[in-house]
């Protein structure tokens, strides 16, 4: 009897265990299936071969490998991220390479037309800052203006609100985020090194940006503006450096406007941007960074899809493009600044961009660069092997890019 009871008990336990295992597995599959259907993966990347004719040097580099990961928690709440590896290899104690989060935010939909984001995001300034997938712009390199004047990809921590109207084709955005770091400004790169990019940003100083984008038929017209403090130090520290701190202390103002037009294979892009740093003198006095008082950049690009003529309705694209860029990173300098005419630049880029499918691009272009003269006052301890600076240079760029 005792043996029979033991067998029955054992059988029952096995049955219960079997049931519970099956249930757990089922729920695991169900959970996994739900997770997969609500999770999206994407990415982009590009490889660039570059020939610098003045330096008589060529390089090839896997510039970017970026993975998107998104997840839908509910119909109203989403997660979105972009993890980027630059230059393929990041190795301990060696220069070069970067692993960085380019975006990482939560998105809250208020309705299909309006949403908030909170986290690390790209404010809507310029064209390439938001839309920088390699198959969506011409040329292997991002434009000089949107690299040096507008420091794309410019991401900061904060909150932003996006929306669009239905009656008028107008899209708007406003963002509140951490400000810049004037202590990190470097000669020749305007605001670029002052970005925090989500890492230990000072929240004593803040920034606001806003944009309006009008999109009617084939035309997009946008204006955007950024105003933010660049000194996040405590008041006592800032006073000791004779700098204004606070939310918008030692401010930086960036204004930008652009036009984009596309029709029947023809496309046009025009962008202008202006940076104003009214307290550049104080920044230079504190950090000796030769920060300019103002800088500007403009470019005009025209492109035509040759396949539009050769094969009307063909899904592939072969875009021939030409671009002219003019920028001056020290358009005006404070009394304690030193002018550097090499930062007064013009670029002409001519090339082809072949897209066998919308997601893949094969690019070839030539960039002609012209700058002003070097200022001897800026050359400290010149190397005897330093080649003579040439005002003109030519670059040959070949590359591939993708996004999915």
């Amino acid at each position: 009897m005792r043996v029979l009871l033991s067998i029955l008990l054992l059988s029952f336990c096995q049955f219960v265990l079997a049931q519970s295992e099956s249930t757990a597995e089922d729920s695991l599959h169900k959970g996994l299936s739900s997770f997969i259907s609500n999770t999206s993966i994407g990415g982009y990347g590009n490889v660039l071969y570059k020939r610098n004719f003045n330096q008589d040097y060529s390089s090839i580099n896997l510039e970017r490998f970026v993975l998107f990961l998104g997840h839908k928690f509910s119909k109203k709440i989403y997660f979105f991220s972009e993890l980027e590896v630059e230059d393929a290899l990041v190795s301990g104690a060696e220069e070069g390479g970067e692993i960085a989060l380019e975006q990482c935010y939560l998105k809250f939909n208020t309705n299909p037309n309006n949403y908030f984001v909170a986290g690390l995001f790209l404010p809507r300034i310029g064209i390439l800052n938001e839309n920088h997938l390699p198959n969506t712009f011409n040329g292997n390199e991002r434009t000089q203006v949107e690299t040096l004047i507008l420091p794309s990809t410019w991401r900061e921590l904060g909150i932003a609100y996006y929306g669009n109207l239905n009656r008028i084709p107008l899209t708007y955005s406003i963002a509140l985020m951490n400000g810049l770091d004037a202590a990190s400004f470097e000669h020749g790169s305007a605001l670029r090194e002052g970005r925090f990019e989500g890492r230990n940003a000072s929240a004593n100083n803040l920034a606001l940006s806003a944009s309006l984008k009008y999109n009617k038929n084939n035309l997009i017209a946008q204006i955007s503006s950024y105003y933010g403090g660049s000194v996040g130090l405590a008041a006592k520290q800032a006073d000791s450096l004779q700098l204004d701190s606070g939310f918008f202390g030692t401010p930086v103002l960036v204004n930008e406007a652009n036009l984009q037009y596309e029709s029947n294979g023809f496309s046009l892009r025009l962008l202008g941007s202006y940076i104003s740093i009214p307290n550049a003198l104080e920044i230079n006095r504190a950090y000796a960074s030769n920060t300019p008082q103002s800088a500007y950049g403009v470019y005009l690009e025209a492109a035509y899809n040759i396949f539009k003529v050769l094969h009307s309705g063909y899904n592939q694209e072969l875009n021939f493009f030409a671009r002219y860029e003019k920028l001056d990173l020290n358009y005006s300098i404070p009394e304690n600044g030193i002018i550097d005419e090499t930062l007064n630049q013009q670029h002409i880029v001519i090339g082809l961009n072949y897209l066998p499918i919308k997601n893949v691009s094969i690019k070839a272009d030539i960039r002609l660069q012209h700058t002003g003269k070097q200022n001897p006052a800026l050359i400290i301890n010149p190397s005897p092997t330093l080649p003579v600076y040439k005002l003109d240079n030519t670059f040959l760029n070949l590359g591939i890019g993708y996004s999915f």
Partner: protein, 140 residues
């Protein structure tokens, strides 16, 4: 001095924030031309009379994450496109002659075909039929 600076900074912040809220208030205008409705047995019903003055109507369906663009075609039929970008699922805005995604710049024509990537697939299209004076969109 510090207090004065703090007040000055706070006032600047408040002014800029007010400008921001003014922009946010624009969103209230966004609802004006949108026709709101609900799903009944996987179908949505829209009165034909909405198309007297315009060939395009944005339909906002309760519990549907994206709007539907309902267009009256030349042959008096109606096409219904889900305004969801096929690249990264962002909602689209109507440009008059198509749709645009602000997130990565994809463009679609009025029929939902891709004009410009990175999106590679056409927009999701729903079948429609006219029953008496109602346009019925089947969401299945």
């Amino acid at each position: 001095m510090q207090r004065r600076q703090f007040i000055k900074s706070s006032c600047s912040f408040c002014l800029l924030s007010s400008a921001g809220f003014a922009i946010v208030e624009l969103s209230s205008c966004a609802n004006l031309p949108v026709y709101k409705t609900s799903i009944i047995e996987s179908k949505v019903s829209i009165p034909v009379s909405l198309f007297v003055s315009s060939n395009l109507q944005i339909i906002r369906v309760k519990n549907l994450e994206y709007d539907i663009a309902l267009r009256k075609e030349n042959n008096d039929s109606y096409s219904a496109l889900l305004m969801q970008c096929t690249h990264a699922d962002n909602s689209l805005n109507s440009t008059g002659n198509g749709f645009n995604c602000n997130l990565h710049g994809s463009r679609f024509d009025q029929q939902g075909h891709v004009l410009k990537g990175p999106a590679a697939q056409s927009l999701k299209k729903y079948s429609t039929q006219i029953i008496s004076d109602q346009i019925i969109i089947s969401l299945k």
